[in-house]
């Protein structure tokens, strides 16, 4: 990734407007989407400074509605530990359940979901508040479905 900037003899912009920058980039990406998601996604990735290409935060309303439980609700998993701080759950800890059925301390999960929308353990994605990102996700899914349909058609004709 660094090589792009080396070769072009310029510094990566460590912009203070990273989120608006990312939105611009996502908009630009959408223009190219119908030609080739993977290829342009890759090229685009090179313009985003390190660590800034994480997916956007999880939607606030979704995070607020994730079930809060305590250790006694987890009785089958007595030795369970939080994958973020690696400590075992305690009786008075507030534990959040993700839809993928992974458990975290509330205090360990919330800072992560304020940064990006996926489960720290399995990358299960929550919905975001970023319309461009959601649009992009839909487009990608649509592209995959189109490809699958073409493959189906192809195999029904020639398979």
């Amino acid at each position: 990734m660094a090589s792009y900037f080396d070769e072009h003899d310029c510094e990566p912009t460590t912009s203070v407007h990273n989120s608006s920058r990312r939105t611009d980039l996502l908009r630009m990406l959408r223009l190219f989407l119908r030609s080739d998601v993977e290829e342009y996604g890759h090229i685009l990735g090179q313009f985003i400074p390190d660590g800034e290409s994480l997916a956007p935060p999880a939607a606030k309303s979704v995070v607020e509605n994730l079930p809060r439980i305590s250790l006694k609700d987890l009785d089958s998993k007595k030795d369970a530990q939080c994958p973020v701080c690696l400590a075992q759950f305690d009786n008075d800890d507030v534990i959040i359940t993700m839809p993928c059925e992974h458990y975290f301390h509330m205090d360990c999960l919330l800072p992560w979901l304020q940064k990006t929308n996926s489960c720290p353990l399995c990358r299960f994605e929550l919905v975001t508040d970023d319309p461009d990102y959601e649009e992009l996700k839909k487009e990608k899914l649509g592209q995959k479905e189109r490809e699958a349909r073409v493959a189906d058609l192809h195999s029904s004709m020639f398979g």
Binding site: M1, A2, S3, D6, E7, H42, G45, I48, D50, G51, E52, S53, L54, P83, V84, C85, L86, A87, C108, P111, W112, K115, S118, C119, P120, L121, R123
Partner: protein
């Protein structure tokens, strides 16, 4: 340093000790939990086999919500690692980081990277080009670097030894000669021409 970062590093160090994996090591550089030293053994079946690679690991204040900053201290010839600075191009150290990844998984991923380079996402453009265009020269160079810098065992390639001796006899530093010869796929004439022009 934040308390979550410190306690997590303490737990990680303990887990690594208990896991008893001989091919990866992590230790504190001083009393500070933000500065660690790692070591991985080059995987077998690769030009890096049994080389000892030292890594510098810096833990950000915001760990584990941000990835550790890892680079190679031992010089290595690999498409995804800078042959000059040791900087690494690996997705999980950048946009694919997740808070449940650990230093142990990072070091295991680096070992996997040594087994399977990704030349289409290079850190070192020169190495990546050689990897794609001249696989034979790449393997020869990567193995020689492993023996020269990482103490990998085995007899050294006589062609490499001879050309490196010739270049250093002309008064060029060995490290710089090796870099020039490697860049020019062991064409002595081109390497010397390059060395005298800069």
């Amino acid at each position: 340093m934040s308390s979550i970062a410190t306690t997590r590093i303490q737990r990680e160090l303990k887990d690594i000790k208990e896991s008893n994996n001989q091919s990866i090591k992590i230790e504190l550089k001083s009393d500070e939990f933000n500065n660690l030293r790692g070591e991985i053994v080059g995987p077998s079946g690769t030009p890096y086999q049994d080389g000892m690679y030292k890594l510098s690991i810096k833990i950000p204040e915001t760990y584990p919500f941000n990835p550790p900053i890892v680079s190679f201290d031992t010089r290595i010839w690999h498409p995804n690692i800078s042959s000059v600075t040791g900087a690494i191009c690996l997705d999980i150290l950048k946009d694919q980081w997740a808070a449940a990844l650990t230093l142990r998984t990072v070091l295991l991923s680096l070992q996997a990277l040594l087994s399977a380079a990704e030349p289409d996402d290079p850190q070192d453009a020169v190495v990546a080009k050689q990897y794609k265009d001249n696989q034979k020269a790449f393997v020869k160079t990567a193995r020689f670097w492993a023996q020269y810098y990482a103490n990998a065992p085995g007899p050294r390639d006589t062609d490499c030894v001879e050309k490196l001796r010739k270049a250093s006899e002309m008064g060029f530093y060995k490290d710089i000669s090796l870099q020039a010869l490697s860049t020019h796929s062991w064409d002595l004439e081109n390497a010397i021409q390059y060395l005298t022009s800069c």
